[in-house]
Protein backbone atom coordinates (compact mmCIF):
# COMPACT_ATOMS: atom_id res chain seq x y z
CA UNK A 1 0.00 0.00 0.00
CA UNK A 2 2.93 2.37 0.63
CA UNK A 3 4.66 4.21 -2.17
CA UNK A 4 7.85 2.34 -1.28
CA UNK A 5 6.15 -0.96 -1.84
CA UNK A 6 4.60 0.23 -5.08
CA UNK A 7 7.87 1.42 -6.55
CA UNK A 8 9.55 -1.83 -5.63
CA UNK A 9 7.25 -3.64 -8.01
CA UNK A 10 8.83 -1.84 -10.94
CA UNK A 11 12.24 -3.01 -9.89
CA UNK A 12 11.39 -6.62 -10.42
CA UNK A 13 10.05 -6.63 -13.97
CA UNK A 14 12.70 -6.26 -16.63
CA UNK A 15 10.78 -4.78 -19.61
CA UNK A 16 9.61 -1.90 -17.46
CA UNK A 17 13.19 -1.02 -16.69
CA UNK A 18 13.99 -0.63 -20.38
CA UNK A 19 10.98 1.61 -20.94
CA UNK A 20 11.93 3.59 -17.87
CA UNK A 21 15.41 4.20 -19.25
CA UNK A 22 14.01 5.52 -22.51
CA UNK A 23 11.44 7.71 -20.82
CA UNK A 24 14.10 9.17 -18.63
CA UNK A 25 16.92 9.22 -21.10
CA UNK A 26 15.41 10.90 -24.11
CA UNK A 27 14.47 14.23 -22.56
CA UNK A 28 17.65 14.16 -20.52
CA UNK A 29 19.71 13.63 -23.67
CA UNK A 30 18.01 16.49 -25.46
CA UNK A 31 18.59 18.83 -22.56
CA UNK A 32 22.19 17.77 -22.18
CA UNK A 33 22.83 18.63 -25.80
CA UNK A 34 20.79 21.78 -26.12
CA UNK A 35 21.10 23.24 -22.66
CA UNK A 36 23.84 21.86 -20.45
CA UNK A 37 26.42 21.61 -23.18
CA UNK A 38 25.93 25.19 -24.42
CA UNK A 39 26.22 26.43 -20.84
CA UNK A 40 29.43 24.50 -20.33
CA UNK A 41 30.74 25.84 -23.62
CA UNK A 42 29.96 29.30 -22.36
CA UNK A 43 32.12 28.73 -19.33
CA UNK A 44 34.90 27.64 -21.64
CA UNK A 45 34.24 30.59 -23.92
CA UNK A 46 34.72 33.00 -21.06
CA UNK A 47 38.30 31.83 -20.88
CA UNK A 48 39.03 31.98 -24.56
CA UNK A 49 40.47 34.74 -26.65
CA UNK A 50 38.28 36.90 -28.84
CA UNK A 51 38.50 36.16 -32.54
CA UNK A 52 39.99 38.62 -34.98
CA UNK A 53 36.70 39.38 -36.65
CA UNK A 54 34.54 38.70 -33.68
CA UNK A 55 33.45 35.46 -32.17
CA UNK A 56 36.06 33.19 -30.70
CA UNK A 57 39.66 32.60 -31.66
CA UNK A 58 40.62 28.97 -32.33
CA UNK A 59 41.00 26.89 -29.23
CA UNK A 60 44.45 25.75 -30.18
CA UNK A 61 46.93 28.24 -31.52
CA UNK A 62 49.20 27.36 -34.45
CA UNK A 63 51.87 26.05 -32.13
CA UNK A 64 49.31 23.69 -30.60
CA UNK A 65 49.05 25.42 -27.25
CA UNK A 66 45.76 25.85 -25.49
CA UNK A 67 44.57 29.36 -26.26
CA UNK A 68 43.06 30.34 -22.94
CA UNK A 69 43.20 33.49 -20.89
CA UNK A 70 41.53 35.21 -18.00
CA UNK A 71 41.89 38.57 -19.66
CA UNK A 72 38.12 38.90 -20.09
CA UNK A 73 37.55 38.45 -16.41
CA UNK A 74 40.25 40.96 -15.76
CA UNK A 75 38.56 43.44 -18.02
CA UNK A 76 35.31 43.10 -16.12
CA UNK A 77 36.76 43.51 -12.69
CA UNK A 78 39.06 46.37 -13.58
CA UNK A 79 36.54 48.57 -15.30
CA UNK A 80 34.27 50.51 -13.00
CA UNK A 81 31.52 51.08 -15.49
CA UNK A 82 30.54 47.43 -15.62
CA UNK A 83 30.52 47.15 -11.87
CA UNK A 84 28.31 50.20 -11.79
CA UNK A 85 25.98 48.67 -14.36
CA UNK A 86 25.70 45.46 -12.36
CA UNK A 87 24.79 47.44 -9.29
CA UNK A 88 22.26 49.49 -11.21
CA UNK A 89 20.65 46.38 -12.65
CA UNK A 90 20.57 44.85 -9.20
CA UNK A 91 18.91 47.96 -7.85
CA UNK A 92 16.31 48.06 -10.61
CA UNK A 93 15.54 44.39 -10.13
CA UNK A 94 15.21 44.85 -6.38
CA UNK A 95 12.92 47.83 -6.72
CA UNK A 96 10.84 45.95 -9.25
CA UNK A 97 10.56 43.00 -6.89
CA UNK A 98 9.48 45.09 -3.94
CA UNK A 99 6.92 47.06 -5.93
CA UNK A 100 5.56 43.86 -7.45
CA UNK A 101 5.21 42.39 -3.98
CA UNK A 102 3.37 45.44 -2.72
CA UNK A 103 0.95 45.33 -5.64
CA UNK A 104 0.57 41.58 -5.86
CA UNK A 105 -0.11 40.83 -2.23
CA UNK A 106 -3.50 42.56 -1.99
CA UNK A 107 -4.42 41.10 -5.36
CA UNK A 108 -3.59 37.57 -4.26
CA UNK A 109 -5.42 38.08 -0.97
CA UNK A 110 -8.47 39.31 -2.84
CA UNK A 111 -8.51 36.25 -5.09
CA UNK A 112 -8.17 33.89 -2.13
CA UNK A 113 -10.99 35.58 -0.26
CA UNK A 114 -13.31 35.60 -3.24
CA UNK A 115 -15.83 32.80 -3.37
CA UNK A 116 -15.04 29.52 -5.11
CA UNK A 117 -17.01 30.54 -8.18
CA UNK A 118 -15.09 33.77 -8.65
CA UNK A 119 -11.66 32.39 -7.99
CA UNK A 120 -11.16 30.54 -11.27
CA UNK A 121 -12.27 33.53 -13.26
CA UNK A 122 -10.08 35.93 -11.30
CA UNK A 123 -7.10 33.64 -11.69
CA UNK A 124 -7.67 33.35 -15.39
CA UNK A 125 -7.77 37.13 -15.62
CA UNK A 126 -4.39 37.37 -13.93
CA UNK A 127 -2.96 34.61 -16.10
CA UNK A 128 -4.01 36.01 -19.46
CA UNK A 129 -1.72 39.05 -19.49
CA UNK A 130 1.02 36.79 -18.18
CA UNK A 131 0.69 34.60 -21.24
CA UNK A 132 0.30 37.36 -23.74
CA UNK A 133 3.26 38.52 -25.75
CA UNK A 134 5.84 40.32 -23.68
CA UNK A 135 6.55 42.88 -26.38
CA UNK A 136 2.93 43.87 -26.62
CA UNK A 137 2.89 44.66 -22.94
CA UNK A 138 6.01 46.83 -23.31
CA UNK A 139 4.58 48.51 -26.40
CA UNK A 140 1.41 49.36 -24.51
CA UNK A 141 3.40 51.33 -22.00
CA UNK A 142 5.34 53.02 -24.75
CA UNK A 143 2.04 54.49 -25.83
CA UNK A 144 0.96 55.43 -22.34
CA UNK A 145 4.26 57.00 -21.38
CA UNK A 146 4.51 58.81 -24.65
CA UNK A 147 4.63 62.60 -24.83
CA UNK A 148 1.07 62.96 -26.09
CA UNK A 149 -0.60 61.10 -23.31
CA UNK A 150 -2.17 61.95 -20.00
CA UNK A 151 0.69 60.86 -17.81
CA UNK A 152 3.40 62.90 -19.43
CA UNK A 153 1.12 65.83 -20.07
CA UNK A 154 -0.09 65.78 -16.50
CA UNK A 155 3.42 65.51 -15.17
CA UNK A 156 4.60 68.37 -17.31
CA UNK A 157 1.65 70.45 -16.25
CA UNK A 158 2.65 69.98 -12.65
CA UNK A 159 6.25 70.72 -13.48
CA UNK A 160 5.04 73.82 -15.30
CA UNK A 161 3.53 75.12 -12.10
CA UNK A 162 6.91 74.94 -10.50
CA UNK A 163 8.51 76.55 -13.50
CA UNK A 164 10.47 73.47 -14.51
CA UNK A 165 11.18 72.41 -18.08
CA UNK A 166 8.87 69.86 -19.68
CA UNK A 167 10.35 66.42 -19.61
CA UNK A 168 9.53 63.04 -20.96
CA UNK A 169 8.73 59.94 -18.97
CA UNK A 170 9.94 57.74 -21.73
CA UNK A 171 13.57 56.78 -22.10
CA UNK A 172 14.27 57.00 -18.41
CA UNK A 173 14.92 54.70 -15.47
CA UNK A 174 11.42 55.43 -14.22
CA UNK A 175 9.95 54.06 -17.40
CA UNK A 176 12.12 50.97 -17.10
CA UNK A 177 10.94 50.29 -13.59
CA UNK A 178 7.29 50.86 -14.43
CA UNK A 179 7.41 48.50 -17.35
CA UNK A 180 9.44 45.90 -15.47
CA UNK A 181 6.83 45.91 -12.73
CA UNK A 182 4.03 45.62 -15.23
CA UNK A 183 5.62 42.77 -17.12
CA UNK A 184 6.51 40.73 -14.04
CA UNK A 185 3.50 41.34 -11.82
CA UNK A 186 1.68 38.07 -12.67
CA UNK A 187 4.83 36.11 -11.75
CA UNK A 188 4.46 37.43 -8.23
CA UNK A 189 0.73 36.96 -7.95
CA UNK A 190 0.57 33.29 -8.85
CA UNK A 191 3.02 31.79 -6.31
CA UNK A 192 1.62 34.11 -3.63
CA UNK A 193 -1.87 32.94 -4.43
CA UNK A 194 -0.79 29.30 -4.40
CA UNK A 195 0.63 29.78 -0.91
CA UNK A 196 -2.16 31.90 0.56
CA UNK A 197 -4.77 29.48 -0.71
CA UNK A 198 -3.38 26.79 1.56
CA UNK A 199 -3.66 28.85 4.72
CA UNK A 200 -6.09 27.38 7.23
CA UNK A 201 -8.80 30.00 7.86
CA UNK A 202 -9.19 28.59 11.35
CA UNK A 203 -5.80 30.07 12.25
CA UNK A 204 -7.05 33.59 11.60
CA UNK A 205 -10.21 32.89 13.54
CA UNK A 206 -8.18 31.54 16.42
CA UNK A 207 -5.95 34.61 16.44
CA UNK A 208 -8.96 36.88 16.41
CA UNK A 209 -10.53 34.87 19.20
CA UNK A 210 -7.35 35.37 21.19
CA UNK A 211 -7.53 39.13 20.82
CA UNK A 212 -5.44 40.01 17.77
CA UNK A 213 -6.59 42.93 15.61
CA UNK A 214 -6.31 42.96 11.83
CA UNK A 215 -2.77 44.35 11.70
CA UNK A 216 -1.54 41.89 14.29
CA UNK A 217 -3.20 39.00 12.55
CA UNK A 218 -1.44 39.92 9.33
CA UNK A 219 1.93 40.48 10.92
CA UNK A 220 2.03 37.41 13.12
CA UNK A 221 0.01 34.86 11.19
CA UNK A 222 -0.57 35.62 7.52
CA UNK A 223 2.77 37.19 6.64
CA UNK A 224 5.09 34.58 8.24
CA UNK A 225 3.09 31.73 6.75
CA UNK A 226 3.19 33.36 3.34
CA UNK A 227 6.98 33.75 3.29
CA UNK A 228 7.64 30.70 1.07
CA UNK A 229 5.22 32.13 -1.48
CA UNK A 230 6.78 35.57 -1.16
CA UNK A 231 10.15 34.06 -1.78
CA UNK A 232 9.03 31.98 -4.76
CA UNK A 233 7.38 35.00 -6.36
CA UNK A 234 10.37 37.21 -5.65
CA UNK A 235 12.72 34.74 -7.29
CA UNK A 236 10.46 34.58 -10.35
CA UNK A 237 10.57 38.37 -10.61
CA UNK A 238 14.11 39.19 -9.54
CA UNK A 239 16.03 36.74 -11.71
CA UNK A 240 14.43 37.59 -15.06
CA UNK A 241 14.33 41.31 -14.26
CA UNK A 242 18.01 41.33 -13.44
CA UNK A 243 19.01 39.99 -16.83
CA UNK A 244 16.44 41.66 -19.03
CA UNK A 245 17.46 43.72 -22.07
CA UNK A 246 14.36 44.33 -24.19
CA UNK A 247 12.68 46.69 -21.76
CA UNK A 248 15.63 48.99 -21.23
CA UNK A 249 16.29 48.76 -24.96
CA UNK A 250 12.84 50.05 -25.83
CA UNK A 251 12.03 52.48 -23.05
CA UNK A 252 15.26 53.04 -21.18
CA UNK A 253 17.09 55.41 -23.43
CA UNK A 254 20.74 55.99 -22.57
CA UNK A 255 20.15 56.45 -18.85
CA UNK A 256 18.19 53.31 -18.31
CA UNK A 257 20.40 50.63 -19.78
CA UNK A 258 21.05 47.49 -17.77
CA UNK A 259 23.64 44.78 -17.87
CA UNK A 260 21.47 42.77 -20.26
CA UNK A 261 21.89 45.47 -22.90
CA UNK A 262 25.65 45.25 -22.62
CA UNK A 263 25.56 41.48 -23.02
CA UNK A 264 23.43 41.80 -26.13
CA UNK A 265 25.76 44.39 -27.48
CA UNK A 266 28.84 42.25 -26.84
CA UNK A 267 27.36 39.28 -28.62
CA UNK A 268 25.66 40.88 -31.58
CA UNK A 269 27.46 44.14 -32.21
CA UNK A 270 30.90 44.27 -30.66
CA UNK A 271 31.12 40.49 -31.06
CA UNK A 272 33.49 40.13 -28.16
CA UNK A 273 32.17 36.75 -27.19
CA UNK A 274 34.57 35.90 -24.39
CA UNK A 275 33.72 39.11 -22.62
CA UNK A 276 30.02 38.61 -23.26
CA UNK A 277 30.31 35.16 -21.76
CA UNK A 278 32.02 36.52 -18.70
CA UNK A 279 29.25 39.05 -18.22
CA UNK A 280 26.55 36.39 -18.65
CA UNK A 281 28.18 34.01 -16.21
CA UNK A 282 28.69 36.69 -13.60
CA UNK A 283 25.10 37.76 -14.10
CA UNK A 284 23.85 34.25 -13.45
CA UNK A 285 26.09 33.75 -10.44
CA UNK A 286 25.02 37.03 -8.87
CA UNK A 287 21.36 36.31 -9.53
CA UNK A 288 21.59 32.86 -8.00
CA UNK A 289 23.59 34.16 -5.04
CA UNK A 290 21.01 36.82 -4.27
CA UNK A 291 18.26 34.24 -4.53
CA UNK A 292 20.10 31.89 -2.19
CA UNK A 293 20.58 34.67 0.33
CA UNK A 294 16.94 35.56 0.14
CA UNK A 295 16.02 31.92 0.58
CA UNK A 296 17.82 31.82 3.88
CA UNK A 297 16.19 35.02 4.98
CA UNK A 298 12.77 33.85 3.92
CA UNK A 299 12.84 30.60 5.86
CA UNK A 300 9.85 30.49 8.19
CA UNK A 301 11.34 31.51 11.49
CA UNK A 302 10.18 30.35 14.84
CA UNK A 303 8.54 33.27 16.49
CA UNK A 304 9.78 33.95 20.00
CA UNK A 305 7.10 34.50 22.64
Amino acid sequence: MTAAAASLVQRRSIPLVRVGLLVRGLPALYLWIFFALPCLLMVLASLRVAGEFGGLAPLFSESGRLNLTVASYGELFSTFIYFELFLKSLLYALITTVVCLALAYPLALAIVRAGKTWRDLLLLLVILPFWSNFLIRVYAWMIILGPDWVMTRGLNAVRGWFGAEPTTLMFSPIAVIIVLVYVHLPFMVLPLYANLEKHDPALIDAAQDLGANARQRFRHITWPLSLPGVFAGSALVFIPAFGIFAVPDLVGGTNGIMIGNVIKQQFLETRNWPFGSVLSLVLTVVALACTALAARAARPRREAP
Binding site: C39, L56, D120, L250
Partner: protein
Protein backbone atom coordinates in the same frame (compact mmCIF):
# COMPACT_ATOMS: atom_id res chain seq x y z
CA UNK B 1 -12.37 39.69 8.40
CA UNK B 2 -14.02 43.01 9.10
CA UNK B 3 -15.68 45.08 6.48
CA UNK B 4 -13.10 47.85 6.36
CA UNK B 5 -10.16 45.65 5.53
CA UNK B 6 -12.34 43.66 3.14
CA UNK B 7 -13.25 46.83 1.30
CA UNK B 8 -9.64 47.94 1.21
CA UNK B 9 -8.57 44.62 -0.26
CA UNK B 10 -11.31 44.71 -2.86
CA UNK B 11 -10.31 48.22 -3.84
CA UNK B 12 -6.68 47.17 -4.13
CA UNK B 13 -7.70 44.19 -6.24
CA UNK B 14 -9.78 46.27 -8.60
CA UNK B 15 -6.90 48.69 -8.96
CA UNK B 16 -4.58 45.77 -9.62
CA UNK B 17 -6.74 44.37 -12.40
CA UNK B 18 -7.19 47.82 -13.91
CA UNK B 19 -3.42 48.21 -13.88
CA UNK B 20 -3.02 44.87 -15.63
CA UNK B 21 -5.60 45.41 -18.33
CA UNK B 22 -5.69 49.12 -19.04
CA UNK B 23 -2.50 49.14 -21.12
CA UNK B 24 -3.67 46.16 -23.15
CA UNK B 25 -7.02 47.83 -23.67
CA UNK B 26 -5.21 50.87 -25.00
CA UNK B 27 -3.38 48.77 -27.57
CA UNK B 28 -6.55 47.07 -28.72
CA UNK B 29 -8.64 50.21 -28.89
CA UNK B 30 -6.09 52.18 -30.84
CA UNK B 31 -5.75 49.40 -33.39
CA UNK B 32 -9.05 50.66 -34.67
CA UNK B 33 -8.04 54.31 -34.54
CA UNK B 34 -8.12 56.23 -37.79
CA UNK B 35 -4.86 58.01 -37.12
CA UNK B 36 -1.22 57.26 -37.65
CA UNK B 37 -0.19 58.14 -34.15
CA UNK B 38 -1.44 56.59 -30.96
CA UNK B 39 -2.40 59.85 -29.39
CA UNK B 40 -6.00 60.82 -29.79
CA UNK B 41 -9.01 58.96 -30.92
CA UNK B 42 -10.02 60.12 -34.39
CA UNK B 43 -12.41 57.59 -35.77
CA UNK B 44 -13.09 53.89 -36.18
CA UNK B 45 -11.39 52.00 -38.96
CA UNK B 46 -10.18 48.53 -39.79
CA UNK B 47 -7.69 49.85 -42.30
CA UNK B 48 -4.71 48.84 -40.20
CA UNK B 49 -5.79 45.21 -40.25
CA UNK B 50 -6.15 45.36 -44.00
CA UNK B 51 -2.67 46.84 -44.27
CA UNK B 52 -1.41 44.06 -42.07
CA UNK B 53 -2.74 41.43 -44.38
CA UNK B 54 -0.83 42.95 -47.28
CA UNK B 55 2.41 43.21 -45.32
CA UNK B 56 4.54 40.46 -46.81
CA UNK B 57 7.18 40.55 -44.13
CA UNK B 58 4.55 40.27 -41.43
CA UNK B 59 2.84 37.36 -43.12
CA UNK B 60 6.09 35.46 -43.50
CA UNK B 61 6.91 36.12 -39.88
CA UNK B 62 3.47 34.90 -38.83
CA UNK B 63 3.85 31.76 -40.89
CA UNK B 64 7.26 31.07 -39.39
CA UNK B 65 5.95 31.60 -35.87
CA UNK B 66 3.10 29.20 -36.41
CA UNK B 67 5.31 26.54 -37.93
CA UNK B 68 7.91 26.80 -35.20
CA UNK B 69 5.23 26.77 -32.50
CA UNK B 70 3.63 23.66 -33.95
CA UNK B 71 6.85 21.68 -34.12
CA UNK B 72 7.95 22.94 -30.72
CA UNK B 73 4.64 22.02 -29.18
CA UNK B 74 4.73 18.46 -30.52
CA UNK B 75 8.33 17.79 -29.56
CA UNK B 76 8.28 19.55 -26.20
CA UNK B 77 5.03 17.85 -25.21
CA UNK B 78 6.41 14.42 -26.01
CA UNK B 79 9.72 14.99 -24.26
CA UNK B 80 8.12 16.96 -21.45
CA UNK B 81 5.57 14.23 -20.73
CA UNK B 82 8.37 11.70 -20.55
CA UNK B 83 10.29 13.98 -18.24
CA UNK B 84 7.21 14.48 -16.09
CA UNK B 85 6.88 10.73 -15.65
CA UNK B 86 10.54 10.29 -14.86
CA UNK B 87 10.46 13.12 -12.32
CA UNK B 88 7.40 11.63 -10.68
CA UNK B 89 8.76 8.11 -10.39
CA UNK B 90 12.30 8.79 -9.35
CA UNK B 91 13.49 12.42 -9.56
CA UNK B 92 17.15 11.81 -8.90
CA UNK B 93 19.57 14.70 -8.65
CA UNK B 94 20.42 15.51 -12.23
CA UNK B 95 17.13 15.40 -14.10
CA UNK B 96 15.32 18.12 -12.10
CA UNK B 97 18.20 20.52 -12.70
CA UNK B 98 18.29 19.75 -16.41
CA UNK B 99 14.56 20.19 -16.77
CA UNK B 100 13.94 23.21 -14.57
CA UNK B 101 17.09 25.29 -14.90
CA UNK B 102 16.07 26.62 -18.34
CA UNK B 103 12.95 28.02 -16.72
CA UNK B 104 14.64 29.44 -13.65
CA UNK B 105 17.56 31.24 -15.20
CA UNK B 106 17.54 34.53 -17.10
CA UNK B 107 16.52 33.91 -20.69
CA UNK B 108 19.42 35.91 -22.01
CA UNK B 109 21.85 33.33 -20.72
CA UNK B 110 20.24 30.55 -22.68
CA UNK B 111 19.95 32.79 -25.72
CA UNK B 112 23.63 33.66 -25.93
CA UNK B 113 24.79 30.19 -24.92
CA UNK B 114 22.77 28.62 -27.72
CA UNK B 115 23.97 31.27 -30.15
CA UNK B 116 27.57 30.35 -29.51
CA UNK B 117 26.76 26.66 -29.51
CA UNK B 118 25.03 26.73 -32.88
CA UNK B 119 27.85 28.73 -34.41
CA UNK B 120 30.42 26.38 -32.98
CA UNK B 121 28.75 23.32 -34.47
CA UNK B 122 28.32 25.17 -37.74
CA UNK B 123 24.55 25.13 -37.71
CA UNK B 124 23.19 27.99 -39.81
CA UNK B 125 21.02 30.21 -37.66
CA UNK B 126 17.46 30.12 -38.85
CA UNK B 127 14.15 28.43 -38.27
CA UNK B 128 15.79 25.16 -37.21
CA UNK B 129 17.98 26.76 -34.56
CA UNK B 130 15.01 28.69 -33.22
CA UNK B 131 12.93 25.54 -32.99
CA UNK B 132 15.64 23.58 -31.23
CA UNK B 133 16.01 26.40 -28.71
CA UNK B 134 12.28 26.67 -28.12
CA UNK B 135 11.94 22.96 -27.46
CA UNK B 136 14.68 23.15 -24.87
CA UNK B 137 12.95 25.71 -22.71
CA UNK B 138 9.41 24.40 -23.21
CA UNK B 139 10.18 20.89 -21.97
CA UNK B 140 10.31 22.14 -18.38
CA UNK B 141 6.87 23.72 -18.48
CA UNK B 142 5.22 20.60 -19.84
CA UNK B 143 7.11 18.46 -17.32
CA UNK B 144 5.82 20.53 -14.40
CA UNK B 145 2.26 20.17 -15.57
CA UNK B 146 2.46 16.42 -16.19
CA UNK B 147 4.26 15.81 -12.94
CA UNK B 148 1.71 17.65 -10.83
CA UNK B 149 -1.06 15.82 -12.66
CA UNK B 150 0.57 12.49 -11.82
CA UNK B 151 1.14 13.54 -8.22
CA UNK B 152 -2.54 14.24 -7.86
CA UNK B 153 -3.66 10.89 -9.21
CA UNK B 154 -4.24 7.77 -7.17
CA UNK B 155 -1.35 5.28 -7.23
CA UNK B 156 -3.63 2.39 -6.41
CA UNK B 157 -5.53 2.83 -9.67
CA UNK B 158 -2.67 1.36 -11.67
CA UNK B 159 -2.40 -1.48 -9.18
CA UNK B 160 -6.13 -2.09 -9.45
CA UNK B 161 -5.83 -2.28 -13.22
CA UNK B 162 -3.02 -4.81 -12.98
CA UNK B 163 -5.00 -6.74 -10.40
CA UNK B 164 -7.84 -6.89 -12.93
CA UNK B 165 -5.57 -8.56 -15.45
CA UNK B 166 -3.99 -5.62 -17.28
CA UNK B 167 -0.34 -5.82 -18.31
CA UNK B 168 1.73 -2.75 -17.46
CA UNK B 169 1.22 -1.37 -20.97
CA UNK B 170 -2.57 -1.90 -20.88
CA UNK B 171 -2.76 -0.37 -17.43
CA UNK B 172 -0.97 2.69 -18.81
CA UNK B 173 -3.19 2.87 -21.85
CA UNK B 174 -6.53 2.42 -20.14
CA UNK B 175 -5.95 4.09 -16.79
CA UNK B 176 -2.92 6.38 -16.60
CA UNK B 177 -3.14 7.95 -20.03
CA UNK B 178 -6.80 9.01 -19.89
CA UNK B 179 -6.17 10.53 -16.50
CA UNK B 180 -3.14 12.61 -17.48
CA UNK B 181 -4.40 13.46 -20.96
CA UNK B 182 -5.94 16.78 -19.90
CA UNK B 183 -2.61 17.78 -18.40
CA UNK B 184 -0.74 16.72 -21.51
CA UNK B 185 -3.05 18.70 -23.79
CA UNK B 186 -2.86 21.75 -21.57
CA UNK B 187 0.92 21.41 -21.60
CA UNK B 188 0.88 21.29 -25.39
CA UNK B 189 -1.20 24.44 -25.60
CA UNK B 190 1.14 26.12 -23.14
CA UNK B 191 4.20 25.16 -25.16
CA UNK B 192 2.54 26.48 -28.30
CA UNK B 193 1.82 29.81 -26.65
CA UNK B 194 5.28 30.10 -25.15
CA UNK B 195 6.83 29.46 -28.52
CA UNK B 196 4.69 31.97 -30.37
CA UNK B 197 5.37 34.66 -27.81
CA UNK B 198 9.05 34.11 -27.16
CA UNK B 199 11.33 37.02 -27.82
CA UNK B 200 14.68 36.89 -26.07
CA UNK B 201 15.85 33.40 -27.02
CA UNK B 202 14.49 33.79 -30.52
CA UNK B 203 16.33 37.10 -30.85
CA UNK B 204 19.70 35.47 -30.34
CA UNK B 205 19.13 32.25 -32.25
CA UNK B 206 17.37 33.65 -35.31
CA UNK B 207 20.39 34.86 -37.18
CA UNK B 208 20.20 37.59 -39.79
CA UNK B 209 17.38 36.42 -42.00
CA UNK B 210 14.79 34.45 -40.07
CA UNK B 211 11.89 36.35 -38.64
CA UNK B 212 9.13 35.50 -36.23
CA UNK B 213 6.19 37.55 -35.13
CA UNK B 214 7.78 38.91 -31.94
CA UNK B 215 10.95 39.78 -33.80
CA UNK B 216 8.90 41.55 -36.43
CA UNK B 217 7.00 43.48 -33.82
CA UNK B 218 10.27 44.43 -32.14
CA UNK B 219 11.77 45.87 -35.29
CA UNK B 220 8.56 47.72 -36.06
CA UNK B 221 8.44 49.19 -32.59
CA UNK B 222 12.03 50.32 -32.83
CA UNK B 223 11.71 51.92 -36.22
CA UNK B 224 8.36 53.01 -37.54
CA UNK B 225 5.53 52.87 -35.08
CA UNK B 226 2.18 52.72 -36.74
CA UNK B 227 -1.08 51.25 -35.50
CA UNK B 228 -0.22 48.23 -37.63
CA UNK B 229 1.68 47.17 -34.56
CA UNK B 230 -1.51 47.59 -32.56
CA UNK B 231 -3.37 45.48 -35.06
CA UNK B 232 -0.96 42.56 -34.99
CA UNK B 233 -0.76 42.85 -31.22
CA UNK B 234 -4.52 42.61 -30.94
CA UNK B 235 -4.57 39.54 -33.12
CA UNK B 236 -1.84 37.91 -31.07
CA UNK B 237 -3.68 38.76 -27.86
CA UNK B 238 -6.77 37.14 -29.26
CA UNK B 239 -4.87 34.00 -30.16
CA UNK B 240 -3.33 33.79 -26.71
CA UNK B 241 -6.72 34.34 -25.13
CA UNK B 242 -8.23 31.44 -27.05
CA UNK B 243 -5.33 29.06 -26.41
CA UNK B 244 -4.98 29.75 -22.73
CA UNK B 245 -8.68 29.74 -21.99
CA UNK B 246 -8.88 26.38 -23.71
CA UNK B 247 -5.97 25.07 -21.68
CA UNK B 248 -7.52 26.34 -18.46
CA UNK B 249 -10.84 24.71 -19.27
CA UNK B 250 -9.23 21.37 -20.06
CA UNK B 251 -7.03 21.19 -17.00
CA UNK B 252 -8.04 23.76 -14.42
CA UNK B 253 -5.46 24.74 -11.85
CA UNK B 254 -2.36 23.68 -13.72
CA UNK B 255 -1.75 27.04 -15.27
CA UNK B 256 -1.15 28.67 -11.93
CA UNK B 257 1.62 26.17 -11.17
CA UNK B 258 0.13 25.82 -7.72
CA UNK B 259 2.33 23.30 -6.01
Amino acid sequence: MNRRSAAAITAAAVAGYAFLYAPLAVVVIFSFNDSKINAEWVGFTTAWYAKLMRNAAMLTAAGNSLLIALVTSLAATTLGTMAGFALHRRPGRVLPVLVFAPIAMPEILMGVALLMFFVLINLTLGLLSITLAHIAFCIGYVAIVVRSRLAGSDESLVEAARDCGATPWLAFRHVTLPLILPGVIAGALMAFTLSIDDFVITFFTAGATASTLPLQIYSMVKTTVTPEVNAISTLLLLLTLVLITAAAKIAPGILSFSE
